[in-house]
């Protein structure tokens, strides 16, 4: 499979990349790790005339923590997230999720920016970003702006990112020390997208759940922030009724496609199992 022809550009700064996007117009695309875009180009479902490779832009790389705020450059690779001491300490659900993406070779090149900006509902990071209430930092011809992950996804492959804009970083408040977390993903095989997956982040105090955030992967044409499911847990001692209410609230918002991963009813049911398992594992981990 041979992609369509294009011209290749490798800028060394964000400003240069934004200027190239503006100058080259509609048929220019940025290239991050390439593990979503290149397969689409090989199928000729994407036919950019210009590719702007972001790999040399140092300001797009790296993971930092400052006063409880974590910033991850868009070109940070999944393998770097898995190996990050900062994330292991402050936000271990990120490496846990990254480890469930594809396989080692793909994680070596696949980036968090590409994963969240592409708008593929099968990608795992968008739901996690919604659970973390992350903000996406975006550079464009009109300057910089921020969009909340919870408001970023319009439909499959349609996002708030406008033509000419580049996602530069992801920023979120680290969950409090002692939080419980889990990303539960059912997939048919290594490398597959989720049949259903759930991210849960919760805090406990004296046996009661103080807060809970839940989001779902690949059971709709966007990631789904399950706000009501989280609310069903907050203020309870996570008894069976509360967990059941959260599971039902999550299942109620799913709109899975019937495909090779199963019919709608099955994927909805698996969503419930993933949410339940994630709540139980998160609760067991909470201090």
């Amino acid at each position: 499979m041979i992609p369509g022809a294009f011209d290749y550009h490798r800028p060394s700064s964000i400003d240069e990349a934004v200027k190239l996007l503006a100058d080259l117009g509609d048929e220019a695309r940025v290239l991050a790790g390439g593990h979503s875009l290149i397969p689409m180009m090989k199928l000729r479902m994407a036919l950019p005339e210009n590719l702007i490779d972001l790999q040399d832009i140092a300001e797009l790389k790296g993971i930092s923590e400052d006063g409880g705020t974590i910033t991850i450059g868009a070109m940070t690779r999944q393998a770097e997230i898995i190996a990050s001491a900062v994330l292991a300490e402050h936000c271990p659900i990120l490496p846990e999720t990254a480890l469930q993406i594809a396989d080692p070779q793909v994680r070596n090149l696949g980036t968090i920016g590409g994963n969240v900006a592409n708008g593929d509902p099968g990608n795992d990071m968008p739901a996690l970003m919604q659970a973390l209430d992350a903000a996406y930092l975006i550079a464009g011809p009109g300057g910089n702006r921020e969009v909340a992950a919870r408001g970023f996804y319009d439909a499959a492959f349609f996002t708030a990112l406008a033509d000419g804009e580049v996602l530069t970083a992801i920023r979120f408040a680290a969950p409090p020390a002692g939080h419980g977390y889990a990303y539960e993903k059912q997939k048919r095989k290594i490398g597959d997208y989720a049949t259903a997956a759930a991210a849960v982040i919760l805090t406990m105090s004296g046996g009661r759940c103080e807060s809970a955030e839940i989001a779902l992967t690949n059971v709709g044409d966007t990631p789904l922030y399950a706000e009501e499911a989280g609310k069903a847990l907050a203020g309870t001692d996570l008894n069976a009724d509360a967990v059941k209410a959260a599971v039902e609230a999550a299942k109620a918002i799913t709109r899975p496609a019937a495909d090779g991963r199963g019919p709608v009813d099955f994927r909805t049911s698996v969503t419930g199992v993933m949410v339940r398992n994630a709540i139980e594992r998160a609760a067991a981990r909470a201090a």
């Binding site: 290749y8 290149i38 397969p39 790999q55 080692p104 070779q105 490398g191």
Partner: protein
């Protein structure tokens, strides 16, 4: 859409060729540099037969443009054995433990395992299985591949101890 002058270090030697930007790394290696060890299996980033080492990490060369690897240090299966042709411990172990049947996945398996043992010189069976989870073999059932990688790790550790 003019051709690009692409240069990289491949198996320790400088290599260069003119290629279209759309040229995939696997085609650049196989067709421009005549290195036909890395195979094209699924051509969709799943099977790992095209695995090569790029700047110290395993990548699937069917899902990388040669232009992205411009300036990179690449190792293919052709660069694993010693320059005098003596097989690497992994290659010996794959032969000894029947880690291949048809051999199609073997270049990718060994190139991946070669990097895995640098990342983790004494992997457990689970770590080996996770480490090669991006490489598919349709013949062996993986048992003998895992045995071979484990045996090579032991062999390399013994050789390292002897050298110290």
């Amino acid at each position: 859409m003019s051709k690009m002058h692409i240069k990289m270090t491949v198996n320790g030697k400088a290599a260069e060729a003119l290629a279209e930007p759309r040229t995939l790394l696997i085609h650049f290696l196989r067709e421009d540099l005549n290195l036909t060890g890395p195979h094209i299996g699924c051509d969709t980033g799943h099977c790992g037969a095209c695995t090569v080492d790029m700047d110290g990490m395993s990548v699937k060369s069917c899902t990388v443009f040669a232009a992205q690897a411009n300036g990179a240090d690449v190792t293919t299966i052709e660069g694993i054995a010693a320059p005098d042709g003596a097989l690497h411990a992994l290659q010996e172990a794959f032969r000894e433990h029947h880690g291949l049947q048809c051999g199609f996945c073997t270049p990718g398996m060994i190139t991946r395992a070669h990097r895995l043992l640098q990342e983790n010189p004494s992997p457990s069976e689970d770590e080996i299985r996770m480490g090669i989870s991006g490489n598919l073999c349709r013949c062996t059932g993986y048992q003998n591949i895992v045995k071979a990688i484990s045996a090579a790790a032991d062999q390399l550790a013994t050789a390292k101890e002897a050298a110290q």
